[in-house]
Subunit: 221 residues, 2 copies
DNA sequence: TAGCTAACGTACTAGTTCGTACATTAGCCA
DNA sequence: TGGCTAATGTACGAACTAGTACGTTAGCTA
């Protein structure tokens, strides 16, 4: 029955460490995002790869380290996106709005990343803590925000007493919640926050909210 | 060796179905919040109870149903809190601010609940979906928001084009993010969103943000 | 007070799951 | 081209884990 032999390569396998690792990371990202850290199955990850479980341990050491590697790569992607932010030429209001939109879009386009972050928080961010790469590399977005904020506050356009980190939290929270909590929110309130028909509505809402906060006339304080 | 008998009750055990169930739910809430659904251990829950694993299956049927029961009770608590909202006598601005503060406080005081909701979202809200109790009981807060919003919009005080669900999402997102993501946020940006010293700052920030959004003068649209 | 049932405990199992010991080979380099 | 090492595959095991079969008893009720 096994008379038909594969022509040249026994299993069509070519050795390529980089590709094998990347493939493991791809599948692991999906699997961890799907089921959480404890719910993810190392065997399942291996099965959906063109390689075997042995390779996961060979390259990453274990489930825990694999998850850390997945996180590191995921954060790398968002940092890259942030580096391409090009809003310096805009006036402060337009720049902030643009920043909010980019954040909004990125969250929407990377639900797996959002899930990974949720999972990492369930585990007290211990993987980030134990990662050298993820130590203390504040996002590039933060620098941009700092710059715009200083500009807007100096000109008197922005009245709010926020710093860059606070503003980043404000913008992120809305974008994050919309993606991360869409299931419970949808189930409880019957509204799909990710509904494409409502996308523009929420995107505008976020921008309006942030700008309103920054530019509100606060009488005394 | 076993000559010393316990005076009256062999194990100091008294039969009390309600208390046993409540105790299981208490411990299960902690355990699920600690480790996620898959990470939680039924044996661990049983061990930390004055009863045995058998009782978990006797009363709840299984791990899945236990988690659903935990969720049901947790949502019950928040709904009760919302029912005690008493803001009808306040003007719209003060009422919304109060509502935001109550939401803020409740999230801060119930981190386990937040974690459970995060976990439930990882699992696509399937437990909520399969629960009759959690079917479609929109929160009482929603009714309150609807009322305040109508009042504020009618008087022309509120200019924003939001409905109650949107506003609820806006307020919740900030409160939720602050608690749920505090670990990754702290690790990445070196700022503890739950730092008591910053509590008033963030509480005010939320109120300012929501009010600014609702009352901003939007030129044309 | 006899009997019945809800409430509870013990001990076990079947299946899973992470991890590893051992064997093999592709392909680079001397 | 011969050999060496990084890269890969196979097969297995030890520990864990959800769930259950079976036995016991508290305490209410007739």
């Amino acid at each position: 029955m096994t008379s038909v032999e594969e022509p040249a390569r026994p299993n069509g396998r070519i050795r390529d460490a980089a590709r094998t690792q990347a493939e493991i990371l791809d599948v692991a990202t999906q699997e961890f995002a799907r089921a959480g850290f404890a719910g993810a199955r190392v065997d399942e990850i291996a099965a959906r790869t063109r390689t075997t479980k042995r390779m996961i341990y060979y390259y990453f050491g274990g489930k825990e380290q694999l998850f850390t590697a997945v996180l590191e790569r995921a954060y790398g992607v968002i940092r890259e996106a942030e580096q391409q932010l090009d809003v310096e030429h805009l006036d402060p209001v337009a720049a902030i709005r643009r920043l909010a939109e980019v954040t909004f879009d990125h969250h929407e386009q990377h639900p797996d990343f959002i899930r990974l972050v949720s999972i990492e928080n369930i585990h007290g961010a211990e993987h980030i803590a134990s990662s050298e790469k993820l130590g203390k590399i504040g996002s590039p977005a933060l620098d941009v925000i700092r710059q715009i904020l200083a500009q807007g506050q100096k000109s008197g356009l922005f009245t709010a007493d926020v710093d860059a980190v606070d503003l980043h939290a404000m913008i992120s929270s809305f974008c994050f919640f919309r993606v991360a909590n869409r299931h419970t929110f949808g189930a409880l309130f019957g509204r799909d926050l990710i509904d494409p028909a409502q996308r523009e509505h929420y995107r505008t809402m976020l921008g309006d909210m942030v700008i309103a906060y920054l530019t509100a006339d606060r009488a005394t304080d």
